[in-house]
């Protein structure tokens, strides 16, 4: 029976529901604004349970206060006569809650089946979660360069999710969806929204509207920073955006590569590496280039003190030049661990191409032209995104 229900998506989820169905549910005392097609269903079930709860809360607490006042002990009265049982009453308060519970279960069950049944025509986006970032990859092979999730409006979207390390969970409050991302298996999550987030391409971030994408399963130090924004785009804009993701670095000329691409790529590094010398989960980038190229700090310890930067990098050594060392540290992070940090960095093999690594190296070489948050503050004007 479950199987049959699983194969029958509700009418609100089909492709013919485009743009017309399911208005956004407004924010209220309890719930935030709902933006997905099943938000109304979830909100209805929530409100149904809530009103039952208000009723019983007022009933129980109201009677409790009333009795406590009306039947106060008089003097030192040690014995009060009251009924010891009442069969009809007891049956009543067993049966009525049972019936209400069946309704609650039913609304939850119906909504849940819709929630877990992606339509056949869903647009698939692959999500790889790792400590502590979400990486979105689109059917064209392009990845979302700024780590945020861009989706087309009015179209069912299915996330196929996997984890590189520990449990994570994808949670979108505005869409009323959540699912754990379990290492060793694929998990799926789907949703559809019929409303564009306004100002998504506004250059002023304050004018951008977006939905939150949280990690909801505890995953360690950076758990609370494991976050993405969701932008909902009109289909045409989405197509343009997607095309750009595949080749956005190709158009950058000369120094623009590290000036423009560097800060965007650094967003993924920032949860562990600082630019101002403060220690994070990994070493700060400040002074890194000097250390790697034989300057100040090049006697810093690597590999539990067995190696230093100087002993590894230089003509005739393992790494001919600092660029090779940085490149290897991004692709094979466990090779040479900087003392006293742990072996926790995931590999970026397959996620960063040569151009991206060039941009990161360029940024490291010119760190004085960036502020502590990775914003480019060098004088030269930069071409638009």
């Amino acid at each position: 029976m479950i199987h049959l229900l699983l194969q029958a998506p509700s009418e609100s989820t089909g492709q013919n529901a485009l743009m017309t169905s399911a208005p956004v549910t407004p924010a209220d005392f309890w719930l935030p604004e709902g933006a997905s097609t099943f938000a109304p269903q979830v909100d209805f079930a929530f409100q149904f349970v809530a009103w039952i709860s208000y009723f019983f809360f007022v009933l129980v607490v109201g009677l409790m206060i009333f009795f406590a006042i009306k039947y106060r002990q008089k003097g030192r009265e040690a014995y009060a006569r009251g009924p010891s049982h009442h069969t009809m009453l007891e049956l009543g308060w067993t049966i009525i809650p049972t019936i209400l519970c069946v309704f609650m279960f039913w609304f939850g069950f119906r909504g849940f089946i819709d929630l877990r049944t992606p339509p056949q025509n869903s647009y698939q986006i692959d999500l790889t979660a790792q400590k502590w970032a979400f990486n979105f990859r689109y059917p064209t092979g392009a990845a979302s360069a700024d780590q945020n999730l861009y989706i087309p409006v009015g179209r069912p979207v299915k996330l196929v999710m996997r984890s590189e390390d520990v449990l994570h969970a994808a949670f979108i409050p505005a869409f009323r969806v959540k699912h754990d991302i379990v290492p060793g298996r694929y998990s799926t999550l789907w949703f559809q929204t019929d409303h564009v987030t306004e100002g998504w391409n506004d250059s002023d971030p304050l004018k951008q509207k977006f939905h939150h994408f949280f990690c909801a399963e505890y995953c360690g130090k950076g758990h609370s920073g494991m976050y993405a924004k969701i932008f909902v785009l009109p289909q045409a804009d989405f197509d343009l955006w997607l095309e750009k993701q595949g080749r956005w670095m190709d158009d950058l000329k000369g120094d623009e590569l590290w000036q423009v691409a560097g800060p965007k790529l650094f967003g993924r590094c920032a949860s562990c590496h600082s630019l101002n010398g403060s220690a994070g989960t990994g070493p700060s980038w400040q002074g890194l280039w000097a250390r790697a190229s034989g300057g100040a700090g090049s006697d810093g310890k690597l590999d539990n003190g067995r190696e230093t930067y100087t002993s590894l990098i230089g003509p005739g050594k393992k790494f001919e030049n600092p660029e090779s060392y940085v490149r290897n540290s991004i692709l094979n992070p466990g090779d040479h661990i900087v003392v006293p940090y742990g072996n926790v960095m995931p590999t970026f093999r397959g996620q960063l191409n040569d151009l991206a690594i060039d941009a990161i190296i360029g940024m490291m070489k010119n760190l004085d032209k960036f502020d502590a948050k990775g914003k480019y503050i060098g004088g030269a004007p930069i071409a638009a995104k």
Binding site: L6, A45, R76, A80, V102, G108, L115, R116, E217
Partner: protein
């Protein structure tokens, strides 16, 4: 025969506190009352430490961003310690270990539990578990969350994971032995006349609890051993990299930890049944319904663990089945609340400190229970899972209900345990501060959660700050309430008025021996009647306490 014991003149130096002297007489005691008192002191000390960690967590959450005095790693350790201490060292052993040990044999009319040596051993296992936890803290701490979810717990770099898991393993056996002791005591040591349906409802609740302790806790033990084996020896059980399955750990863990929720709340419900009936001076309403609902809860508790895993990736069919069964637990819980409510009807209600805690429990448990309903409703739970809504819900049940019942029980039996009366004036102030503080702290967290604030977050979106600030202020208020409570209780130990044998007018057997009870509880086998038939209880002005009129005609009240 019972009259001689509550005349007050009989109160000599020969009570369990003064029966023998010296530190050794406590350390090696087999007296259930002394073991209960030792549990009480230990549990309250742990509660203080766990509370400090809660205040650290709440203080950090005043601001959404990073703060200089605590970093993300330290914050993660703080909430992990708060959870682990409160669950394993405080709430699970609190009522059975401290109050249960003290009152269960006396209520039953027995001289001690069935296995006094095993009882002392349980206590020392608790102490061992506590020391292992402290060692884990000193060895490098642990940041796994109290749930120890794999593969995070098998891969995190904090060095204290194995010691604390060993500690919880040992604490589990402390719990099992206590449960075993109670089951055998209730089956075998009932005096003549003490039939099952003459047992006070606290004993039914402790019996149901003991069944869960004995049957569910071994599963936790096995799970924790498997976790240690994987972490220490790299044998793949839960880690998918080694062919394991992390969801399997969640099944094992919740197969214990859901019943454990009822290990925490059932004894609290038992205490509330006593408090409500005694301080209303009236027959409990629907005795058999309340008694059987305890057993029903114990049975259902084994069948609903999957509702902790609606988003985990277990099959949709299992989610649906677990959701359905979960709602069935709501029914016996609701029955209990309605029966307590009906007990108030036409009572003679005294709003003293113990009763205020009893009414606070009803208020808080109603909210805790009702907010369980949206979490059992499948599609709503998907939204609320792993948010502050869940945090608020289980604090209403585990703290607002289980711990508040514990505090209420401490006040109810304080005169019996230590032979002194505490200040009712300060008692009511303390209760009010705790009650108001608790609601301010945790009701705001329902809003935080339903609006999408995930739990276990060091930093958060600025839009949530107002609620977090209010919640933290509530926590400070609650802390103040507990300090007031600690102060007047300690004060009463030294300066409190001498307590009569029966200060509240209770009818169960513990009120028929002196306060504090003698070493052997009863000099002669007590006569057993209906524990809720108050018809022969009288006020004795000279003693400022109640007594049982031996000439009273037994009431026709039956169950």
């Amino acid at each position: 025969m019972t009259t001689s014991s509550h005349t007050g003149h009989a109160q000599s130096t020969d009570n369990y506190l003064t029966f023998t002297r010296g530190i050794k007489s406590w350390m090696f005691t087999l007296d259930h009352k002394r073991i209960g008192v030792m549990y009480l002191v230990s549990v309250l000390a742990s509660f203080f430490v766990g509370g400090l960690f809660a205040l650290i967590v709440r203080t950090k959450l005043l601001t959404p961003g990073e703060v200089s005095w605590i970093d993300a790693d330290q914050y993660n350790q703080a909430f992990t310690l708060h959870g682990a201490i409160m669950v394993f060292l405080v709430i699970i052993p609190s009522i059975p270990g401290a109050l249960g040990n003290f009152v269960l044999p006396i209520m039953l009319g027995a001289k001690d539990v069935a296995f006094p040596r095993l009882n002392l051993f349980s206590y020392y296992l608790w102490v061992t578990g506590a020391f292992l936890s402290v060692y884990a803290l000193l060895a490098g701490g642990f940041d796994t969350g109290w749930t120890f979810y794999t593969p995070y717990s098998t891969t995190t770099e904090t060095a204290g994971v194995i010691p604390v898991v060993m500690g919880v393993f040992v604490l589990g056996f402390s719990s099992i032995f206590t449960g075993l002791n109670f089951v055998v005591t209730i089956h075998k040591l009932r005096p003549p006349g003490m039939t099952w349906f003459r047992m006070p409802l606290l004993l039914w609740a402790l019996y149901a609890t003991a069944l869960i302790q004995v049957l569910a806790t071994p599963v936790l033990g096995i799970t924790l051993l498997l976790l240690i084996i994987e972490r220490a020896f790299g044998i793949g059980i839960f880690d998918p990299g080694m062919g394991g399955d992390p969801v399997l750990f969640q099944h094992f863990f919740w197969f214990y930890s859901h019943p454990a929720v009822y290990i925490m709340i059932l004894p609290g419900m038992g205490i509330i049944s006593e408090i409500i009936a005694v301080h209303s001076h009236r027959q409990i309403f629907g005795y058999k319904y309340v008694a059987f609902s305890s057993i029903a809860i114990a049975i259902f508790s084994f069948l609903v663990w999957g509702h902790h895993m609606f988003t985990s990736g277990q099959s949709e069919l299992m989610n649906v089945v677990f959701s359905f069964i979960t709602f069935s637990v709501a029914i016996p819980s609701a029955i209990k609340v309605f029966n307590w409510l009906a007990t108030l009807y036409k009572g003679a209600i005294v709003l003293n400190t113990a009763m205020l805690y009893g009414l606070a429990f009803m208020f808080l448990f109603t909210i805790g229970g009702l907010t369980g309903l949206p979490l059992g409703t499948l599609n709503v739970d998907i939204h609320l899972h792993d948010t502050y809504f869940v945090v608020a819900h289980f604090h209403y049940v585990m703290m607002g209900s289980a711990l508040i019942a514990m505090v209420g029980g401490i006040h109810h039996w304080w005169p019996k345990m230590f032979g002194v009366m505490f200040s009712e004036f300060w008692g009511r102030i303390g209760c009010t501060l705790v009650f108001v503080g608790f609601n301010v702290t945790f009701f705001t967290q329902f809003m935080l959660g339903s609006q999408g604030m995930p739990r276990r977050y060091y930093m958060y979106q600025p839009e949530f700050q107002t609620y977090h600030v209010i919640s933290t202020m509530g926590a400070y208020c609650m802390a103040l309430g507990f300090f007031v409570t600690a102060a007047y209780l300690l004060h009463s130990l030294f300066f409190g008025k001498k307590a009569p044998a029966n200060p509240w007018g209770g009818r169960s057997l513990e009120w028929q021996c002196t306060s504090p009870p003698p070493h052997d509880n009863f000099s002669t086998t007590p006569s057993v009647g209906n524990p809720y038939d108050f018809s022969d209880v009288r006020w004795n002005e000279a003693e400022q306490g109640y007594e049982i009129d031996p000439n009273a005609v037994p009431s026709k009240d039956t169950h």
